[in-house]
């Protein structure tokens, strides 16, 4: 039974309440659900790449272990700690918004952004190392040991600083690095987008847009940020740690 109800033109309540919501709580809940549905698509998006990784790791265990051992575990672990700390500061930013401590909220958001940029900076250092070690696959950046010569025939010998375990081939190592760049590159892209979102949040926070009643945007950017952190939580052991137990 449809009841006829009049829609009044004035909006009661908070100025940020949209006309199609009853109250701020419902609006925040709807926004959260929307962000979660988007995160579902992101999970499936990264999932495809994780599947490719799983498959090739199962097929080429020695090559993957060798390639992984060449990655800098210190930088990787530091990056992991940086991201976890940034997730913490992000959660604190949401908390401070909920309790109305606006200065602490802005500080937390700025800290999160700084930590995110730190992560990206360390990543850039790592990528540069790969470049100097000439381990970028493909022919966009001509390099050995993955240069065009490799595509003709395999070289089952030590190349540059790579220590190949028995059974590893250079072509399969190249496969690892391709997946490494695809996964971390896609992750870094998401971090950059997250940094952009955080910049927006900081700008509006300074202007005092968010308060205990209206903190939906802070919360959903938080959800996005935590998701990017979770992806890295999986990437770190899969990419950096898989072959360490062969090292000695």
């Amino acid at each position: 039974m449809i009841e006829s109800h009049a829609t009044t033109p004035e909006i009661h309540g908070h100025p940020a309440l949209q006309h199609h919501f009853e109250n701020m709580e419902q609006q925040r809940e709807a926004g959260t659900i929307g962000m979660w549905v988007f995160l579902v698509t992101e999970i499936m998006f990264f999932g495809g790449m994780f599947l490719a990784y799983t498959l090739y790791r199962a097929l080429y265990p020695a090559s993957f272990a060798s390639a992984s051992n060449h990655l800098d575990i210190t930088l990787g672990a530091v990056n992991t700690a940086v991201l976890i700390l940034s997730s913490f500061t992000m959660a604190m930013a949401v908390y401070f918004t909920q309790v109305g401590k606006s200065r602490a909220q802005v500080v937390s958001l700025v800290l999160t952004l700084v930590l995110g940029l730190t992560f990206l900076g360390i990543k850039a250092v790592e990528y540069h190392d790969k470049y100097t070690d000439r381990l970028i696959p493909g022919h966009l950046i001509p390099s050995a040991p993955f240069g065009p010569a490799v595509q003709q025939h395999d070289q089952p010998l030590d190349a540059h600083k790579l220590h190949l375990l028995p059974g590893a081939t250079l072509r399969q190592v190249e496969m690892f690095y391709w997946i490494y760049f695809a996964l971390t590159g896609m992750h870094a892209l998401h971090m950059i987008i997250g940094a952009g979102l955080l910049t927006f949040l900081i700008y509006y926070s300074i202007k005092g847009r968010f308060d205990p009643e209206y903190h939906g945007p802070v919360e959903i950017v938080g959800l996005y940020w935590h998701f990017v952190d979770i992806v890295w939580i999986f990437l770190f052991p899969l990419l950096y740690l898989l072959g360490r137990h062969f090292e000695h």
Binding site: R28, I33, L85, F88, P212, F227, D229, I233, P237
Partner: protein
Amino acid sequence: MSEHIVPVRIYVMIFLALLVGTALTVVAAYIDFPWQFNAIVAMTIAVGKATLVVLYFMHVRYSTRLIWVIVASAMFWMALLFSFTLADYFSRDWLSIGY
């Protein structure tokens, strides 16, 4: 407002737990476990850390059932993609008919 505000000490505890997990997974990586246990240990720790982030930092523990369903279905669908595809690859050797 009926929203649940998570106390700060919970956030701090989860943060410390995540750091411990990271240290643990690095240490475990250097220990040579038999068979595939290295991967299993690493993934268990990673799943544990991710669960903590999802439940507490992302507030799913305090969220409505609808959000639980959404999160669970994402996990389930990823599991679908993985299990069926890997089932193909791992069962190829069972029947030696030429490929």
